[in-house]
Amino acid sequence: MSQMNMIQALNSAMDVMMARDPGVVLMGEDVGYFGGVFRATEGLQRKYGEHRVLDSPIAEGGIVATAIGMSLNGLRPVAEIQFADYIYPAYDQIVSELARIRYRSGGDFCAPVTIRTPCGGGIRGGQTHSQSPEAIFAHVSGLKVVMPSNPYDAKGLLIAAIEEDDPVIFLEPKRLYNGPFDGDPNKPAVGWNSHPRGEVPEGHYRVDLGVADIVRPGAQLTIITYGTMVHVCMAAAEKAGVDAEVIDLRSFVPLDIETIVNSVKKTGRCIVAHEATRFGGFGGEILSTIQEECFWHLEAPILRVAGWDTPYPHAFEWEYFPGQARVIAAIKATMEAS
């Protein structure tokens, strides 16, 4: 066990896997000599050589395409896309190829590629450094899609993702790299060292894909969320003074329907919260599943708390971000509904 922030945990996951499996290679823009703009691959090129930690041209589509080719030749590439906002040039190779190779070849070929990319807001990144694109990947059959909310899960999930024989889109809430963030920009930033999930084993361990985590048990209300919003919702639940159960989804695909459904059947009230644009966001899938499975248990409409249906504006970081106030308003509305 040792204290790690999320960057160190991710770095440790790649280090552990590269040591265990010579087939694991890293690639991406500035990931090699420089160690990545967020330092996630720092030191790994020095340790494993230029041939296993590749600096790539600025061509996201080419990075994913060549990663696919490498995976077909026995390697396990972990490709970093510098920001999730820049993953779209690779969308065709991800949707038409990466997600489909096993299926269209009748199971004869597979492409064990992990794509890591920083997502989400809260860092004044403006509209092209703040996006949360989980919905456009979760809808694509053949992709596994995950998002950790703390260093422990980040390392365990990344190891599990690299060990997967299916492709995994690994979304990293960049606002959480250096510490948990409860949505209040005026509070001094805190690090992970004071957080239980900042305690991370040095060696190999897995956090399996498809398993949600009940980060706060409760009986009155279920809050389903992921990424940065996990911490915002925890704080909001405290402030609202309701006995809320907070579920950290961790995986979008596979989705841990059982944990969600059991909780809502218990509480009868539910909120779904995410940073991404509300319209057509992943919240709709969660809400729909609950409505279908728990309809007769619902005592109030399930509400969605999300980013607005606009791009993420530079000047209005905290007006756009679904902070505690927006969550608390939804909690109140849900608790009062009847």
Binding site: R52, T66, G69, G74, I101, R102, F109, S141, P254
Partner: protein, 418 residues
Amino acid sequence: MMRSRLHVPRPPARPGEKPDFSYVALSPAGAAARPDPNAPLNDTEFLSRDLVRVLDDKHRAVGPWDPHLAAADLELGLRHMLLTRVFDDRMHRAQRQGKITFYIKSTGEEAVSVAANMAMRPTDMLFPSYRNQGLQIARGRNIVDLMCQLLSNTRDMCKGRQLPVMYHSVEGNMFSISGNLATQFPQAVGWAMASAIKGEDHIAATWLGDGSTAEADFHYALLFAQIYKAPVILNVVNNQWAISTFQTFAGGEGRSFASRGPGYGMPGIRVDGNDFLAVYAVTQWAAERARMGAGPTLIEHVTYRAAPHSTSDDPSRYRPKDDYEHWPLGDPIDRLKSHLIALGEWSDEREQTLLKQCEDQVNQAWREAVTYGTLTDGPQLDPETMFQDVFKEQTPSLARQRMQLAQEIKERQLKERA
């Protein structure tokens, strides 16, 4: 409207007009020099403008690119090309008879696949397009297997998931063909990069059409291949047309597709794609280059799409009916045959026997393939297989959908019985 200054590249002839291939730059057979595969880029640059040809008008193999193949190899090449063509014709008919939903012929382009494969090793990995059936045949695939894919039947390697002609073979080292153009190009480069990273000397080769060079993946492939000097052969099959669109709409007007190579720092070779020996020779050159670690090669095969784009296409709507008869580079099968005859290694009897063998092989294969089912008759794939291979293990929610479908089918069958 106002006088437009936009340039619109036109094909030389449209329906009703006289075919005109004066735009095709030709070099006499044997004229092009053969640099060392490891020569500096400047010494190979002429290859992107000349046209490498080995077979001359008298059907003799001439010049430095003559690979001096044994007669047995030439005959094998002829057999594979002929078998490919017979297969194509039979499957095209099968589509017309409604036995399969769709088909794509490679008529006139057989050498591009068959000769290239002969110049590589069976352990080299191939990333074909949908018009490279010659590769499947030259690598000795069982024709029955190919037909089962076309039929989406119980023996279909794709389990009924892909359109016809989207074959693959793990043992044959041929990657799954994609319906999305050009995607295989940078994937082949990645495969080759992995081969280099692992210190193995297997190489990769990939093919796409002139029209497909416009896609981003063509650019990514050339870029990554040259940056990391990947051991890969990048083949552009310039058959002059992309469905109804002439190759000038892919940028073939001012410069050859081969000359994209030098722009990225790699050799580009323009070769007579209907000259079996020339295709073999340039592929051999590129393979040697790749294996010695000198890096990738871009090869433009100048050929002609003699057939319709696919069974959904009618070329008479956009090009002269008799276009192909005027194609200056002839037919790859006729030319290799004439060469064998010039060598005294071939005769009409042998020709007839070979043709008969191919036809029997194809017909027999077809009779067997249909016993494994067609889309409409005979044994059928279990629809529940639809939910396999989305992931390595079926997720619970996919299993639930599988059961829902089973229920749907059960009720349908009950209704049908009633």
